[in-house]
Amino acid sequence: MDALHQFFAIYGSLVNFIGINSLLALSLYLTLAAGQLSLGSAAFAGIGAYTAGILTMQLGAPYLLSLAAGALLAALVGLVIGLPVLRLRGVFLAIATLSFGEVVRIAVLNINITGGAEGLVGIPNVTTTWGIYLSLAVIGYSIARLRGSRIGWCFECIREDETAAAAMGINTTYYKVLSFVLGAAVAGFAGGLYAHLTYIITPGEFGFSIAVDLLIYNIVGGIRVWYGPVLGAVLLTSLPEILRGIGVTAGPIRMAVNGLILLLVILFLPNGLVSIFERRGRRNPKGPSDAALEEA
């Protein structure tokens, strides 16, 4: 018990950030699962964080209500942005969502109620490690159970071939927007958790580099199954601490190691780290390829 206590005293904030990053990675996963390459998750997290923080500070709203409002507003913005933007495909969609993220960041910088560049200061620290991991468990489980449901099948078909999906009767616009809105809601919720964890939030924390980090969590972990993004987030968030443990402290080397991991994964595990667990089935070329479907 004492050892656990000591561990949390040293690594408590790391454990919290791993949980938050896992949630954010899952939010992007929801959109990627339907084949939509979005760089907007960080901005949705920002919308959730500021909404929840401002509600708690200015109106004294209860914590859970603030979180829900943050998720809801992010989802609404996702709906408004998603309807026009999801007409674009691939890299064009990525650029459109990226510019949306910049618009959000610059708006937050210039609005009074958000505290501008100085950030929103004095948010009560009410988010607990238990709260984060309970949320992660509930949201992770809910996403895992999408597989095999109508929504899960539609996401998968659209990701694989949008034209064929439509010809089978899938309303592709509806399900693409749904994946975008669900992702925005989860990101907004995670943002709210984060705001109540850190006392202060600034616009830069929800910028382009975070959006790219979330994408990297997904790529490194793999988007074939729901736990891939979580795996990526856990590994890459704890990486600086692991490196410090083996004596590497310099910042630039950390980035280089990040890049190296990404490169190795793309080269040798194009479906992400999760494909290590699927390897056994693939050794036999005639064997079942879709073990997960089989057990569903």
């Binding site: 109508r150 064929a164 010809a167 089978m168 009767g169 005639k286 390829s289 479907l293």
Partner: protein, 255 residues
Amino acid sequence: MLLQVKNVTRTFGGVKALDGVSLSVAEGEVHGLIGPNGAGKTTLLNVLSGIIAPSAGEVYLDAAPVHALPVHKLAAKGIARTFQNIRLFPALSCLGNVMAGQHLVAPRPYLPRLFHLPSARRQEREHRLEAMACLARVGLEAKAHFSAKALSYGERRRLEIARALASRPRLLLLDEPVAGMRKQGVDRIGRLIESLAGEGMTILLIEHNMSFVMGLSANITVLNFGRTLLTGTPDQVRRHPDVIEAYLGTGGHHA
């Protein structure tokens, strides 16, 4: 008439890909659609399945106008199709591809799955059995758990037909189902189409393989330069001078 196409025109810029095409397909009929390359066959199939909208003209399914509907709504009316360039879901297994094709007939609600209700498991089992039956229909039941990527060319064609059958369509549109296949594969798909027709399935079949399409179709419509050249029985089509001209040309004076 299950399907009626009336004066359908489709332009791409200045090009008239379809120019007043009309045809009708009776319930339970296998109807062939032939014509030289660029005649507008695939464009017509794309209009019928809603992937592109007609510039003018009407399409009726069971006397109800359907030409203004988007793709997914046309599919919901019972029109299923395959693609000339095979569009399977490569990351899914064969069984997965067919189960994906059940979208219109399998509700698969989320909440019973979320709470592991027995009804979800029971339905999943039923859908799996139905999908296996579709695979057996095209002779792929032994490959149910193979990745769609691992199939041979002919098997992919058959898997695409199985996926289309999974939605229990009223009208099946097949775009060159035996393109580039050798005799064995052609015969196999021919038997499949025959047995589907025997069960009363209405099929519109595009094909370049003449003996194949002549052998299967009750009626054939010939397109040339986006226009209907004629509709008739295979014998009428085979003997018609315009058809011979469209395919072979008439020597020097045909510019």
